[in-house]
Amino acid sequence: MLKDLSGQLMLISAFLLAMMVVAITMMLNNVIYSSNMAYISFIDQSRYDDLSYKQATIKEAIYAEAVDRSNYNAYMQDYAKSLNNITSMRGRYVDLLTYTTSSGPLSNTKTRTELSISGKNSNISYVIYTGYNSQASPGPSPSPTMAFNVTISANKTSMYNDSTDTVKLVITVTDANTSLPASNFVLDIITDRGTSPTAYIYDDGGTNSNPPYLVTDLSGTKIVYYIDKNSTIGTAHIHATAKLNNSSTESYLSNVIEISVTSPSSTNLCSHIINISGTPAIDNIPGKGNDYKITVTFNIGPFSNLNIYPIIDKTSTTIAYDNNPSYNNATKQLTVNVYPERDSNFKLVIKMDITGYCTVDKVNVSRTATLNITGDKHSINASLTYT
């Protein structure tokens, strides 16, 4: 029996083709759809919550430092506990770790708060620095484990007890653990020379004389100039204390330095004085236009940096003289050449300011000597007076 099945075959083929078209369309549609579908991360609102916690923590850290500094740690612990009570309902856990630090690139004492927000699939950490850069908003008290080294040094060990002489004091505060400089420390410099400002003052450069407080700079250093005004001579024992802020009860002590204080008017200023020879030496016999060479000799003794500054006062025009008197460093001699011109009398006064540093008593001393030269063409006299 023969059957014509061609129509049936075409119909089946049409069905299969239609189904293939539908299947391919659905596959392509799924590919396009999934490519443009909003992922769950797009609509995840937890970032709002995390930012809310972070902002609240920043505000509370600042508030606690400014308003409740003495209870800072307890404040932040209670805050974290209360915040956790709320966040735990959302599957979030908040952890706070706070401590003070004085190190870091800014070298400012501040509070470091580490905020960790943990969730099911996330763990976000923030580091929040709060604190103070000036005296107006000091930070919390340091933890007992913190330690700082305070050193004080002076540029000399003796001084006069008048306002013209100063001793440069350098106070440095460093972190004992890291040796990094500690800035914004409030310093108090203490001496046993009496009460400021009657007995002494500190000058930090002229702009802030005798300030109520001294503060270390970014290098952890403060430089002041000590001026002793106590009329009694003696020894000034000076040391410094450093505190985190004005209200801090914990302070760090420095070493003690000693400065000998003497009076510039005292006869005992220096046991050695600049010794000037009594009679100037005249090395030539006058006559017929010859010149005179007058030499004054100074004993160097225990002095260093002995300097002589001659000031020539020519009171007569009858002579010519070498107006560039010289002296050599070996003997400290001052030599003056005088050239009488006529028979008339002449007079020459040379005033000398002589300064030197006594290496025994470690003080600067000075004297004034005056060389008086009188004479005429046939004779010459030279005398030396000094104070």
Partner: protein, 211 residues
């Protein structure tokens, strides 16, 4: 085309398979197809909720980041607009024990529990939210969540405009209260830190839905 009889079995087999596939396809389509109802999760619906969430979160953030001061200040003691709204609501209602509802009249917000209480019309939060209902037809509730010293969680209403729909969204913002903020002796929100100036943490929860 004329086929011999021995090809008929193959064609019947293919026909049977095709028929089976057709029936299976119809069955799958029938099972997969569902009716679209208001509660049906669709991308459009999710998008609307996302917009609501963003709007609410942005409003709370903006209020919380704006100091309640005529001039800009960085003084930490100056509260934000959001915090000022919460503390004022606490203090004018005798400790946060009153709810308010939008009255859609000149009265704006009216007390639901004690009509003698002052209105909260002037609070920044209430003012800002009233724009939602007037401009966009979005209803909202505001609740305050807090804990006691033992960690128990409580919820109290501040603005209540009715039960939210199934498509509502809730956003929140945490606000810290200090001892100086609470002027009432009896407050529903307890002090969880008696030894410090910290008072308690509250979560301001804003629930919104399209009416």
């Amino acid at each position: 085309m004329v086929k011999s009889g021995e090809d008929g079995g193959q064609i019947y087999t293919i026909e049977a398979i095709t028929s089976a596939l057709l029936l299976l396809s119809v069955l799958i389509i029938v099972v997969q197809a569902t009716s679209i109802t208001p509660l049906t999760v669709s991308f459009t619906n999710e998008h609307v909720k996302l917009e609501l969430q963003n709007m609410g979160a942005d409003m709370l953030t903006s209020l919380d980041e704006t100091p309640y001061s005529a001039v800009y200040t960085s003084d930490p003691a100056v509260p934000s607009c959001l915090k000022k709204s919460i503390t004022d609501w606490i203090n004018i209602t005798g400790g946060g024990s009153d709810w308010f509802a939008w009255s859609n009249s000149t009265s704006k917000y009216v007390s639901l529990l004690n009509a003698s209480n002052p209105s909260i019309n002037s609070l920044p939060l209430a003012n800002t939210l009233s724009m939602l209902i007037k401009t966009y037809g979005i209803a909202y509730n505001v609740e305050v969540r807090y804990s006691d010293i033992n960690g128990n969680i409580y919820n109290t209403k501040m603005i209540w405009n009715g039960d939210p729909s199934e498509n509502s969204v809730t956003v929140s913002r945490v606000v810290a209260l200090h001892d100086s903020d609470i002027l009432q002796d009896s407050c529903v929100i307890p002090d969880v830190s008696p030894g410090t100036k910290f008072y308690n943490m509250v979560e301001v929860r804003l629930t919104m839905w399209v009416m």
